[in-house]
Symmetry: C2
Subunit: 128 residues, 2 copies
Amino acid sequence: MTTPESATRQTVQAYHQARFRGDIATAAQQLADRFAFRSPFIESDSPTGHLAGIEQLVQIIDRIEMISDLYSGTDAVLIYNLHTSTPVGVQRTAEHFRLHEGRITTINLIFDASPWQTIMAGAGLQTL
Amino acid sequence: MTTPESATRQTVQAYHQARFRGDIATAAQQLADRFAFRSPFIESDSPTGHLAGIEQLVQIIDRIEMISDLYSGTDAVLIYNLHTSTPVGVQRTAEHFRLHEGRITTINLIFDASPWQTIMAGAGLQTL
């Protein structure tokens, strides 16, 4: 039997796995037509706008250490450590998903952007 | 009937409510003897070390907007917006709890510390 929780898990895991193997098409299939993404660096309401840089991101990720994943009928949260090959090192990350009718309507990515600010400032990049 | 999920919820909510009304004693009662806390600014393995500054924090919080709370037998995550009366404004926050035998063993607080860094740098405070 498919419970609301297991349906949420299936959609979020499909997105999560596809996104981190750089499969933008499969990731985008899990998103609703009306979709919004927010992180310290990006605000986007296009289904693929926030995935535009995913290939570069994948290249600097050594591994994804999943700490906790929790699901309800409408929401999910992934807590993971992103082990990067950059001076940032380990990025402790929380990702909150809200779903409607089996597809993801919002993603809220939360992490401490300070270490990235330092690197980008050193490289003369503007981020804010 | 008390499920593992509802027991987790009860402990985490008791901590959450007590902490934000500045009731350190009740908050600390929810923590295990072996406990570790981690945030962008604090690493502590004392049950009350991370609560030392809670009274000042409470004073700058206008309201706590809960976005999502999820529970399992061993883990919980709270996603909330902390509306502050500081130039930081709204702090988007994720808080991950792990529990053992009904008490909290770790808290992992995740938020973007960049806005605070800017304020503290302006005030000549050292944070890292």
